[in-house]
Subunit: 333 residues, 4 copies
């Protein structure tokens, strides 16, 4: 069988490096290029390739490209690459929101290619049908993935109390802040510390999460979302607190989740009484979820992913597999 020829834009960032790591072990993939303006000329670990500048990438000579680029830039690349008939998996936020207005609101600049906003949202467990055979996919970020998988069975069952807020206290490893050195990612600032940032409703992912929640259950209340910078390199935990609607009981959540994710190879619902920890997911491509009924009405959910895997590169490859009609977990287990 001919291999699928694949390129990666932004291959030297943390998500890009994990993407390379997955793709070089993927049996159906031939890795054609990896770009990095910062590390041009250096060899790409685990491959025979060297980083090339973004501008020099022979995208037209591939079947698919992954974009692990900053928002704003990414949409422009997506448009150019797609125009050449190449499939695109975009890991940036550029194609995730449904309208140019929403994008403008959260990202503070005009969307360069609103026509691309029809790309399906790349969360296979929720949106699988739209991803099969798709040409462009908007792969969701780490916070939305972890939060939405933690809530999906309740949203699908319309089990949440209408109008009541969904509270998510989230904690992310430092790789989520990117590879470029910044004061807040300096080792000395993070070591022994724990810091909230963009609390309440200030984080850009709030828009994306609320959009997807509302598609599943339009009656859902607002998201209260506080991310924290955790002194670990990778791993993300969403601690979710919800109130259930009448007619639903927190004690039933365990069965609801077990059933909902029964056939999902990349979502692991822990047995009742066990708690999901970062250790369950770091360096693998799964999401782990544990459930704690507080009383009949209130439920606490812990959902964890590796922010660079199921929260980024692993999920992007899962989408890629669907786009090319490959078994969905190829290269991921």
């Amino acid at each position: 069988m001919d291999k699928i020829r694949v390129g990666v834009y932004g291959a030297s960032g943390y998500a890009g490096m994990d993407l390379i790591d997955i793709l070089r072990g993927h049996p159906a993939v031939e890795l054609v290029f990896g770009t990095s303006n910062t590390y041009t000329g250096q060899s790409i670990a685990g491959t025979d390739l060297s980083y090339i500048p973004h501008e020099a990438a022979p995208y037209a000579d591939t079947d698919a490209v992954f974009l692990a680029m900053p928002h704003g830039v990414s949409a422009q690349l997506a448009a150019k690459v797609a125009a050449a008939g190449v499939k695109v998996i975009d890991l940036s936020a550029d194609l995730r929101l449904d309208t140019a207005e929403a994008y403008q609101r959260w990202y503070k600049h005009e969307h360069p290619h609103p026509e691309l906003l029809s790309a399906p949202y790349g969360l296979p467990e929720i949106n699988r049908a739209a991803l099969r055979g798709a040409n462009i996919v908007a792969a969701p970020g780490c916070y939305p993935t972890t939060t939405l998988l933690g809530l999906y069975p309740l949203l699908a069952a319309r089990a949440l109390a209408p109008g009541r807020p969904v509270i998510v206290d989230a904690k992310s490893g430092v790789s989520g802040a990117g590879r470029e050195p910044k004061p807040n990612t300096h080792f000395v600032e993070v070591f022994g510390n724990l810091s909230p940032y963009n609390p309440g409703r200030a984080h850009r992912h709030v828009g994306e999460i609320e959009q997807e929640m509302a598609k599943l259950d339009p009656r859902v209340g607002m998201l209260i979302f506080t991310p924290h910078l955790l002194p670990v390199d990778r791993g993300l935990m969403a601690s979710i607190y919800v109130e259930l609607d009448e007619g639903h009981n927190a004690a039933d959540a365990q069965d609801l989740y077990a059933e909902c994710y029964e056939n999902e190879p990349l979502v692991n619902v822990l047995p009742a009484g066990q708690q999901a920890t970062l250790r369950h997911v770091v360096r693998n491509n799964t999401c782990a979820i544990s459930l704690t009924p507080v009383d009949d009405r209130f439920l606490h959910i812990t959902s964890v992913t590796d922010n660079l895997r199921k929260g980024a590169s692993g999920q992007a490859v899962q989408c890629f597999n669907l786009m090319f009609d490959l078994p969905e977990t190829t290269g991921l287990l």
Copy 2:
């Protein structure tokens, strides 16, 4: 002036070591003994003393003793020491609950000295009057201190929506689990990890926190409380999510807290827009609090302490100062 003669039971545990560290710099204190059955004979860092066995402690020859001992044991020591006319500051949970029934419920064994349960609760910012001149004080633990200080202005103002749950997502450094080696405190298990434990309403401190909340506002709803083990040595964060009652607005919280704690030297309300982090409190004796109004009705509060300082030994010394009519921050700034 004659110095106050002081002894410390359990001086080799993490709280005990910090207590020694504070007391040896306290200008009104003469440290008389520190006990440790495990480290008997070894020198006590920063002092001229060596650890002696609990049984050998000359408590009758002191003016006050601190008990940094396991629950169950501590109440028996408290009774014995108090009977000799010596003041007692108990850092264990033994004297914190108001009734023998509550103690039985949370600690699963009969209280050995129910008559001691009348000891005042040693949270000076909330209960100062009862502590001045007291003979026995029940110093609260790290989770209750951090949570109650984070909620106190709202509770005192009766600003919380009656019957609505108070959600506390808490994170603690590993010293909170004690110095005895256990599988869950092994370096390899904690490094790079984050783990919830005793979630929902299972943690023993739930009883203590709800008891004190109800004293301030009997209409308050239940506590939903999930602690996490954080890969740092010390520091504790309580991330608190509350709903306000009608007639109150989250936007007013900043002023409410600033006013309430205006004259408190050991509580630091951060300016609006700043977030409390572990860095604000590690190795000092303060609590730092930041406030984020989510909308009119929902408020997010971050309250942090050093679990071994304001969450244990620092607060115990603050109580001690009140019991002996010393300036409250002596030895603490």
Copy 3:
């Protein structure tokens, strides 16, 4: 092809867990059992098996067993298992020393089965011929592996100044101290700290390293060896300082090493000017080496491994592959 039936004694320790992880991905292996007296009945991660007690292991029903057990115990198991015609790879120190006297000196008790001391030393890059088809192999520990691979080309070339000491300043991640909780592996004791232990010539591995050095070059001087406990979970660095004999020049070391390890897939000699770091080896099965000529005569070598991989389980599987005439890196790349 029929798979090789394999059992693991001590499968719940840190080396044992990594061994399971490698073996479950090994294409020629069928994993038959994993023992653990502490975790009996719990499932073995990534497999369909549960831990069974050591005594219950059906070793006679396997083709090979790995022993990841404490010294003293391991030799007795090795004797029992080998008597049943099953191949043995022993990860303990029990079979590494060549004489019962040396064992008595370093381990302070009599060797239970001196007849097993003829087992070849399982460092394939140095001792490959003796391992092919062998029935019992003594797999070396993490410090000896990392040190000996760092010195081998010099020893083989008789390039070291006779009688001059070899200085090794070593640093090991905490998993090297085992999974059982002890005061020195408590998170709070290790976090933010760095501690030498068993300095000079006190560490048990000194005997093993000197024995193997002397086989390669009997003129070599004594080993000065100071290990340190490093605040990381895994990874080991041996920082080696040596003096060269006349007729040798430190500037030639780069070529010497490159040539010596040219065909070794699991030893990575870094280009001149680059430095070996833990990042090069953590979670893979290789050793990385960098060389710094100080002047003509003095050479500094940095050799790194993952103490649980090339320093333990990875190397044990490399030996296993040789014992069964499989390609040497099967399951390891």
Copy 4:
């Protein structure tokens, strides 16, 4: 008594922040200003001051200034400030080397003020007499301080084998690399890692250490020096390996060191058999030293400091105290 008016240039760097922290508790000091071009206008923690630009500092209105500035810049400030009759403690490398030639060799640019190179070297335990009443002092860096204190008794006793190299394997916390974000200080790069850098004789501190060693014993051999970046925020360990001259015995080192440092309040020689760890010195102003005789002739020494305290700011204040005829440990215990 009138307080000594003091200013700090570079008060927002890691050494500068610790300096502020010490000076604000120093009973003889009135802190007049702290400069920072990056943080101009922000308040200086623990003081009533705000950072001002370097150019705006009223140095002429002080009795002494500390310079915690980059090399190159620092000498020019020192010249300007000294010309106004103000005492200067320079924490940079600019005044440490004795000749303009040595400076040119190690720092690759011409020295701007060679006339300042006569400033005494600010290591009080070795050079106390020259510091009393001095107007300008060159405070040594963290590696030289820790290494030289670890060697001083042997050098003073002429106990080292002439011409034999002194081997120093050093490990430093990340604050030693400065506060400016750089790729090698990114949390993700340091976490779980250990990296040598500038090995052999490449590090700039080699020149400074060899200069000072030779003053104490001109027969001493070259320094072989390999620093490593350690995944902790602060703390520095110099692991020193030396060969003794005939007529000296490693077994005598314990007494030699104990006697040499007997009256030094800021150097702590540990009892035989104990090992110096970072924990002994982090956040205090002392150096701790432990000794391990390997055999008669070879000695291993572990010397540790907090790189920001005895390795920088603490030592600078110790010099300041000597310059103003204050008790040497004022503000430091």
